[in-house]
């Protein structure tokens, strides 16, 4: 579309006519000292904590320290544009981020500006990034499941909408993979949640990959990516999770479900440590400032399930923490473990031995998700946890190679097959009914006499076969979400029938 110069002139003239410069009353201070993304500003006696300041060259700052005669603030732009003696204007606003439906499907920075090259965002409003979490009277307990689509998690570490479940583990153990699978699995979920992925201190390439993956799986249309990359100034990293949460709260208070992933909060704590040390706040354990617990607790407290009176929305938080060499007793991991409602613990040992997702079932828990788990899953998963616990106990013992009685051998065999059954490929989340069928077959012994290597093939083929020849069973699980006695009987019969076919097939292959 061509734009005629007359039109531009017209617009400018209109702006000029409507402009009455008049007088401006403002409050100003002067920069005393600037460097490392921090500025100290003399004056500004009436500045508020958290207020935005306007520096020259369109750089904004946020007040963090109020001191005698000066304020300490962090710069949200390049500090080399600021000089000593520059004038700084108060804005009277606290830090805000644009919100609304227009953000969905976009990749933005923590200030709400698009960074995906898809043009400007027409946001409908703004929300302050720091707000007090909803109180007791506005909440209710978690009662709707949030399916991750991963057998190991949905069966034994169920997550409810409005819960805060920590994903913790060393680098390269599949923490982000779990988060991305969860987003992809929401595609056909009832009351599909808006998914917000907050990338804090990650490589730009990683963020680009996540965006690409989500787009490929058609998940970007209900997702928002908030990215503060490793090269961004520390204040942006510090703000990113709060901004992501504020964007989510807009949907929460409209009665919708929201899933927010903070990937990862260790980097967030490090960014905050940098700011605090530069602002000369006293260092504490591991040089983190004294309020690093509050930093994360006030963020994660904003995850909630609202009651009907307040629209019944929910905001589920999946914070990610990276540990160093499996050390969960470091400062930040212990803090976040104690704030959240449970943790999914990933181990590099399991990961490299081929158990993927590398979830350590023994020490992973979900403190509130159980009440949100579907009946059908509860019916089959109770046995699963028991089988695995017994297997782990025996497996350590069995390494000595001692002879074992029949019962123990059976338990070992069962456990091995269960571990095999819970393995799942990336980007292949399963719907609830498939998970129930797979685990049902496992805990009821249909896998016990199969070779371990055939377990995954059996599982996959069983599910496809059931969908083809017994669709009514699959449909009943999906709709009623409970295994009645009759359903269990017919499911058992079907599984047995398929198994005879499968073993016959195996024998035929062996002959060949």
């Amino acid at each position: 579309m061509a734009i005629r110069p007359e039109e531009i002139t017209g617009v400018i003239r209109k702006q000029l006519e409507g402009f009455s410069g008049g007088m401006e009353l403002r409050e100003e201070g002067t920069v005393l000292q600037v460097g490392d993304g921090i500025a100290r500003v003399f004056g500004l006696e009436r500045a508020m904590a958290g207020e935005l300041l306007e520096f020259p060259n369109n750089v904004m700052g946020m007040v963090l320290n109020l001191e005698k005669e000066n304020v300490g603030c962090v710069l949200l732009g390049p500090d080399r544009l600021i000089r000593e003696g520059d004038r700084v204007k108060r804005t009277g606003r606290v830090m805000e981020v644009p919100v609304g439906e227009a953000m969905v499907g976009r990749v933005i920075d923590p200030l709400g500006q698009p960074i995906d090259g898809k043009g400007p965002i027409k946001a409908t409003g703004t929300r302050p990034i720091e707000v007090v979490a909803p109180g007791v009277v506005e909440r209710e307990s978690v009662n709707v499941p949030l399916q991750t689509g991963l057998k190991a998690i949905d069966s034994m570490i169920p997550i409810g909408r409005g819960q805060r479940e920590l994903i913790i583990g060393d680098r390269q153990t599949g923490k982000t993979a779990i988060a991305i699978d969860t987003i992809i699995n929401q595609k056909d979920a009832p009351n599909r949640p808006i998914c917000i992925y907050v990338a804090i201190g990650q490589k730009q390439s990683t963020v680009a990959k996540v965006a690409k993956t989500l787009e490929d799986f058609g998940a970007l249309s209900y997702s928002i990516i908030v990215s503060a990359a490793a090269a961004d100034p520390a204040p942006l990293l510090y703000m990113a999770p709060y901004a992501g949460c504020a964007i989510g709260e807009e949907f929460l208070w409209k009665g919708k479900d929201v899933l927010v992933i903070y990937d990862d909060l260790s980097k967030h704590a490090q960014a905050y440590r940098q700011l605090s040390l530069l602002l000369r706040r006293p260092p504490g354990r591991e040089a983190y400032p004294g309020d690093v617990f509050y930093l994360h607790s006030r963020l994660l407290e904003r995850a909630c399930k609202l009651n009907k009176k307040n629209g019944g929305g929910s905001l589920t938080a999946l914070p990610v923490i990276e540990t160093q060499a499996g050390d969960v007793s470091a400062y930040i991991p212990t803090n976040v473990i104690s704030i959240t409602d449970g943790q999914i613990y990933l181990e590099s040992g399991l990961f490299y031995s081929g158990v993927r997702p590398a979830v350590n079932i023994g020490i992973s828990v979900s403190r509130v998700g159980g009440s949100a788990q579907t009946k059908a899953m509860k019916q089959v998963a109770g046995r699963l946890r028991l089988d695995l616990a017994q297997y782990n106990e025996l497996a350590a013992f069995a390494q000595f190679g001692s002879d074992m009685d029949k019962a123990s051998q059976a338990q070992l065999a069962r456990g091995e097959r269960m571990v095999e059954l819970l393995k799942q490929d990336q980007y292949l989340p399963l719907p609830l009914e498939d998970q129930v069928i797979a685990i049902y077959a496992g805990v009821n012994g249909y896998l016990d006499d199969l070779p371990t290597a055939e377990v995954r093939r059996f599982d996959a083929e069983l599910r496809t076969w059931l969908r083809g020849s017994r669709p009514e069973l699959v449909k009943e699980i999906a709709e009623k979400k409970i295994l009645s006695d009759e359903l269990q009987a017919s499911l058992g019969k079907a599984a047995a029938e398929f198994k005879t076919r499968f073993t016959a097939g195996l024998k035929k292959e062996a002959v060949k």
């Binding site: 410069g21 401006e24 100003e28 005669e69």
Partner: protein, 178 residues
């Protein structure tokens, strides 16, 4: 300047203000302090006062010679003290803080009026009356000529800036259009 220097300068200023008030010369000292500040900030003088080759005693003598009879004993002793502590660079900040303490003590506020052309007495009186109503204190005006404003005035009172200059209006218009 570091923020700790600002605090330091204000401590020196507070001490000087108390000493000058005790000898009832607080008003006179303010003017002398500005003068001393000008002397210290003069490029030639600044180089001399910074050089480590000269001893403190020589620098003190030099400063006394420069100020001569134009400064009272309190001010001279204050400069001596700064020289002795090697903190002459705090003089400017101390003079600013001193002005603030003086105004506070009198219950007045000082406003700086920047103007492109010298405003008439009647205009200044009108500005003063409006400012006094705004801050609730007696206001002293200091007029400075500032051709960069193009037209109109820009008043600074503490942190407050009242901008009705043409330069400011153009700047705001520029921001609106861009």
């Amino acid at each position: 300047m570091r923020s700790s220097d600002q605090i330091l300068a204000s401590r020196y200023a507070r001490a000087l203000f108390e000493a000058a008030s005790a000898s009832k010369t607080a008003d006179a000292v303010a003017g002398e302090l500005d003068l001393a500040g000008e002397v210290a900030a003069h490029p030639d003088a600044a180089a001399v006062f910074k050089t480590p080759r000269l001893g403190t005693a020589e620098k003190k003598k030099l400063f006394r010679d420069l100020l001569g009879a134009r400064a009272s004993a309190v001010t001279l002793r204050f400069v001596d003290l700064l020289l002795e502590r090697k903190r002459l660079d705090l003089l400017g900040a101390a003079a600013l803080s001193y002005g603030k303490f003086l105004a506070e003590g009198r219950g007045t506020a000082k406003a700086v009026v920047g103007a492109a052309r010298k405003p008439s007495e009647a205009d200044l009186e009108a500005i003063r009356r409006r400012l006094e109503a705004f801050v609730g204190l007696k206001v002293e005006l200091e007029v400075r000529s500032d051709p960069a404003l193009l037209a109109g005035v820009l008043v600074r009172l503490g942190d407050w800036v009242l901008d009705s200059s043409l330069a400011g209006q153009l700047e705001r218009l520029k921001r609106r259009i861009s």
